[in-house]
């Protein structure tokens, strides 16, 4: 296959398969990733084809997943560890923050930890508590980690390839509510750099910045705004750490207005860092303060409230209007 239309989850599955095929050191590990193929079927068929030595069902203990992944990496393996849902990464937080993130520096570069931590994240799927969160900011603050999140099938495929090839630990946030969205994946294309943002729609009046599940929304917002005669530029960040400030800056120097959109709570979220830094970089260009649309300072609500809680077309448009009103 070269180019094929497939769902985002399937693209990840294909990417994992390719990694398993091309590098015998790649391992898949996590809860229910084996026989079941993962609760989202993202690892479907891999256990069957690569066996339990490569595709490992782990005990129900996340600290153990990451801790043993570190040990496997020290032995020369390249583990791709799955955390079943965003809300269950916290038992592993210590291993991620104090060990995975710091080991390379602690060893003065003598050891590398090419570990990928895959986390389906975000809301919008009507799930129960702990299954809809967006904890990326809690990792981005930590040096030593790289944080990425694809918004579409092609990026999911290629960014995962690149994450697995990276010698740094990468937290790979998968927008679970986009798992079933289809997109063209060209498995022979040569991808651009992993941590570079992409302008997915050009515009002149205002820049919308998003990543993961919110990119699609922002494109819809741009469509809606276009009907009202407003030209919005949409930037898909793709990477949360590092953040590609250059691309945002270039866009903002053109549009002079910026709205950042994410599902995660606004308070201490990605939008804060972008607002702070872009305001510094573009102080004389901005016609309006950087506005942020995101989660409230409240626990992710029960499913029947998530439509109210999550950024949607209206809320982003509202922010766009407020920005343009300056």
């Amino acid at each position: 296959m070269a180019a094929e239309k497939m769902a985002l989850a399937k693209a990840i599955n294909e990417s994992l398969r390719r990694a398993l095929e091309s590098d015998p050191k790649v391992l898949i590990m996590g809860e229910d990733v084996g026989k079941l193929g993962g609760v989202f079927r993202v690892t479907d068929g891999l256990y069957k084809d690569f066996g339990e030595e490569r595709v490992i069902d782990t005990p129900l203990a996340e600290s153990g997943i990451i801790g043993t992944a570190i040990g496997l990496a020290l032995r020369g393996y390249r583990p791709v560890a799955e955390i079943q849902f965003d809300g269950f990464v916290f038992p592993a937080y210590d291993q991620i923050v104090t060990q995975l993130a710091k080991m390379h520096a602690r060893a003065l570069g003598k050891v590398k930890l090419p570990v990928v931590v895959r986390i389906p994240y975000g809301g919008g799927i009507g799930a129960v508590e702990h299954h809809s969160e967006s904890p990326e900011a809690l990792f981005a603050h930590v040096a030593g980690l790289k944080i990425v999140s694809p918004s579409n099938a092609s990026d999911a495929y290629w960014m995962l390839q690149q994450a697995i090839q990276s010698d740094d630990p990468v937290i790979f946030f998968e927008p679970k509510r986009r798992y079933w969205d289809k997109g063209e994946v060209n498995t022979e294309a040569i991808p651009g750099p992993l941590h570079k943002a992409r302008v997915v729609r050009e515009g002149t009046d205002l820049t919308l910045v998003a990543y993961g599940p919110m990119v699609k929304l922002c494109q819809e917002v741009a469509d809606a705004a276009a009907e009202e005669g407003k030209s919005l530029e949409v930037v898909d960040l793709r990477s949360v750490s590092p953040l590609d400030f250059d691309t945002i800056q270039a866009s903002v120097e053109k549009t002079r207005r910026l709205v950042v959109v994410h599902e995660a709570p606004v308070f201490f979220g990605t939008g804060a860092e972008i607002a702070a830094r872009i305001t510094e970089r573009c102080f004389y260009h901005l016609e309006a303060p950087v506005l942020r649309v995101g989660g409230y300072h409240a626990p992710y609500p029960p499913a029947r409230l998530e439509e109210t809680y999550l950024p949607d077309l209206d809320r982003v448009l509202d922010a766009v209007d407020r920005s343009l009103a300056y």
Binding site: K35, L36, D57, G64, V128, Y296, P302
Partner: protein
Amino acid sequence: MTVESTTARTPRRSTRSKTGATGTKTAGAGSRAGTRKSSGTKKSADPELVQLLTPEGKRVKNAEYDKYVAGITAEELRGLYRDMVLTRRFDSEATSLQRQGELGLWASLLGQEAAQIGSGRALRDDDYVFPTYREHGVAWCRGVDPVNLLGMFRGVNNGGWDPNSNNFHLYTIVIGSQTLHATGYAMGVAKDGADSAVIAYFGDGASSQGDVNEAFTYSAVYNAPVVFFCQNNQWAISEPTEKQTRVPLYQRARGFGFPGVRVDGNDVLACLAVTRWALERARGGEGPTLVEAYTYRMGAHTTSDDPTRYRSEEERLAWEAKDPILRLRRHLETAHRTDETFFANVEAESEALGRRVREAVRAMPDPDGFAIFEHVYADGHALVDEERAQFAAYQASFADAEGV
């Protein structure tokens, strides 16, 4: 909050001091550090397993545990039967409601009724329960209205009851966390000098979590009056128990210095007896106990799960032969001459329960958007206030726009 469960419950905090407690010393009392050795007098097939009722409903003797159910009456046994049938009926109703789109998800307890009713009925009102997300039968014993359990599965809240009205804590989804809460609560009970006990439920999968093992350490070190009740239903989603341990789970306790025992989790009488024993240990100041109820998750992990992907139909069938309800029914029929009227009545009652639950769920309103901002803090928080106000203004802007 009033429910159909057999015993009306008036939960309270016991302030009875330990000195005044009966605190019967149990058979296992001496074996502080070790595990109870399986006694030769046991009649069950698996020497490790405490069983009082065979799958065929035959009562078998057990030198150690018989005394905990010695005085049990036919009436009480019928009560346990009723509990199990109604719990199962409620559970299957919830499964249907999920299929009908009324619930987003359901975690069925099918097959685990005996473990839950047996242990749940061993509790005193002033005892405190820390469940996982599957203890619908225990909730039933505590007098929690089953409808309340459905809120989180419907997506209208994350826990729909006041833990203190029934001494039944909220469901906990993060695997294992509640075992530490139970331990801390039990430490508090001991500090209060009360003779209540605490019971923490968890699964076979949960046994691998660091938290659960830390709970074992804390409870042992502080000699906390807590019973760890592990329902080993053989599966943690798609993973069999071999992925969590290579020895029987009840043995884990020994290494932490308290007894562990494996009970036939499909035998409600054995579960009642063993839990009573463990609770008495707790009340008597002997500290924690691990009970492994060996049972089977007869359904899917949740309504989102497809067990055909990872386990065989034969396995399920083999366990169906050990069905906890059938077993007690046989026993009631043969040993206690319970007639068809009783069973028919329970059946009718269970239909009524199903109906009531169905109607109540359908009538359950969606929460108001402002609920997002409620109860984030007990003492308030400036940012929450600010965001609530912005939200209100934003909502109002639509009303304005719509010319209301």
